[in-house]
């Protein structure tokens, strides 16, 4: 199977802080990559390097045949093909739900407005918010906003979606509705890289789990390998702490 995203020996420094140290991973078509680790371990930075919201200090990142980290990289094209879902949703507050979803297809992809709207309605139905298309973000609950944000990312028909702690800002009951949408996407074969603390979701949907600590990948494997038979001591300690909590 061809790889969707390939991260090769990537390092990233912020001034004197090392955020990523020789990180390598390969995400295949349809993979659900689940990245765990304590805060400050570099998980979010890795995601942000993949769509080049941050520049790497060294190393290469490929999305299919495009070199993301190259000096001549078509950053816009890379971002078009890479959806991103943020912890704080970042919906556009001045636009209705449907305009939030259709704006990028219309402006960036020059999709016909009618077509963009039909597509947006289908996506809203998929995330269970058909009745909210005329609402403004501030009229929605956090969970609803995040589902709209997922629909907005999907509207660009991305090759991979990056989830940056999508449920960390949500109450438990809202977390579930967002995770359900993500599960649905995973079953549908969407390639996803998820930074999250929702171990239940990882067990249900992840194809690969990566444990990061102090800017490095410590261990990588199937959910069964990582959760049930972690080899490294640091992984064991982390899981013990997380699962106990």
């Amino acid at each position: 199977m061809p790889s969707r995203v390939k991260v090769i020996n990537v390092s990233k420094n912020f001034d004197h802080v090392i955020a990523l140290k020789n990180v390598s991973l390969e995400v295949k078509n349809g993979d659900v990559f689940f990245i765990i680790g304590s805060s400050g371990s570099g998980k979010s930075t890795l995601l942000r390097c993949i769509n080049r919201l941050e520049n790497v200090t060294s190393g290469d990142i490929w999305i299919e045949e495009n070199l993301v980290t190259g000096p001549k990289a078509n950053i816009r094209l890379i971002r078009e093909e890479t959806g991103m879902v943020f912890q704080s949703f970042n919906l556009f507050p001045h636009l209705t739900v449907i305009d939030n979803i259709t704006l990028a297809p219309r402006i960036v992809k020059k999709t016909d407005p009618k077509e963009a709207e039909e597509n947006a309605r289908a996506l809203l139905k998929r995330v269970g918010l058909s009745d909210k298309e005329k609402a403004y973000p501030e009229q929605l609950s956090g969970g609803q906003q995040q589902r709209v944000a997922i629909a907005r990312a999907l509207a660009m028909n991305p090759k991979v979606i990056l989830f940056d702690e999508p449920t960390s800002a949500l109450d438990p009951e809202m977390t579930k509705e967002v995770l359900d949408v993500m599960l649905d996407l995973a079953r549908d074969g969407m390639t996803m890289i998820v930074v999250s603390h929702e171990m239940g979701f990882a067990k249900a949907a992840a194809t690969k789990v990566v444990y990061m600590d102090e800017a490095e990948v410590i261990e990588m494997g199937t959910p069964d390998e990582i959760f049930n038979h972690p080899k490294k001591e640091r992984t064991q300690r982390f899981l013990k702490n997380v699962l106990r909590a």
């Binding site: 078009e80 556009f92 992809k109 990312a153």
Partner: protein, 262 residues
Amino acid sequence: MAKINSKTKIHITDGVLIPGRDDSSLFSAWRIAFYGAILTLILLPVFSPRPYLDLLLFVPDGILKTFQVTVLSIFFALIIGLLVGLGRISRYAFVNRISTVYVEIIRGIPLLVQLFYIYYALAKFVRISDITSAVIAIAICYGAYISEIFRAGIQSIPKGQMEAALALGFTRGQAIFRIILPQTIKVVLPPIGNEFIALLKDSSLVSILAVSDLLRRGREFASTTFDYFETYTMIAIIYLILTLFFSRLVAIMEERMKTDAK
């Protein structure tokens, strides 16, 4: 030395206080001043038509000129302010530097001196008509102040908005015009309304040139009748009515904006 609490900030506007409906004490102060001024404007000519009524009939085209200068100046000042404001947050060091230097220079020179400079000093090279000079000078001056409002407004929008737009494939320019600026409008409208009122008042400086604005018309009237006290009393009242009227208009617009957002 006593440590000064750096979080304490005194915010004083250079326009007039803009009274909202929920700001009851300010609103009633506005009413007293506004209706008091209108009453005076009516009563003085009624009881003493000479010189008050004569003056009232003499100045209307001055009011018109004052409006003309104000509206044209604010229009160009907004364009300059937006461009320079965007320049101030530009990632290009050169654009950034130029914009900042512009703001620093302009804000450090009195408007009256700038007026003289464009009308008299530049006359050495180009002849610019009085009203054009006035509009250019005021627009350049207020553009610098308004650019700071735009810059602050743009920077008040959470960083996540730009990131979300970039992540969707927008260029920075598209993101600024489609995502950031529309959200900025609501933030910058009140201070810009304030600048408008301040500009209306400062437009009286153009009477120094040959522009026959409200103040100039008053001077012309007084120089023939020698009724300085009566003339400038009326001129002051007319300016007061105008600024109070616009301050209320700005307040109403703000309230509209607030309810529209819901």
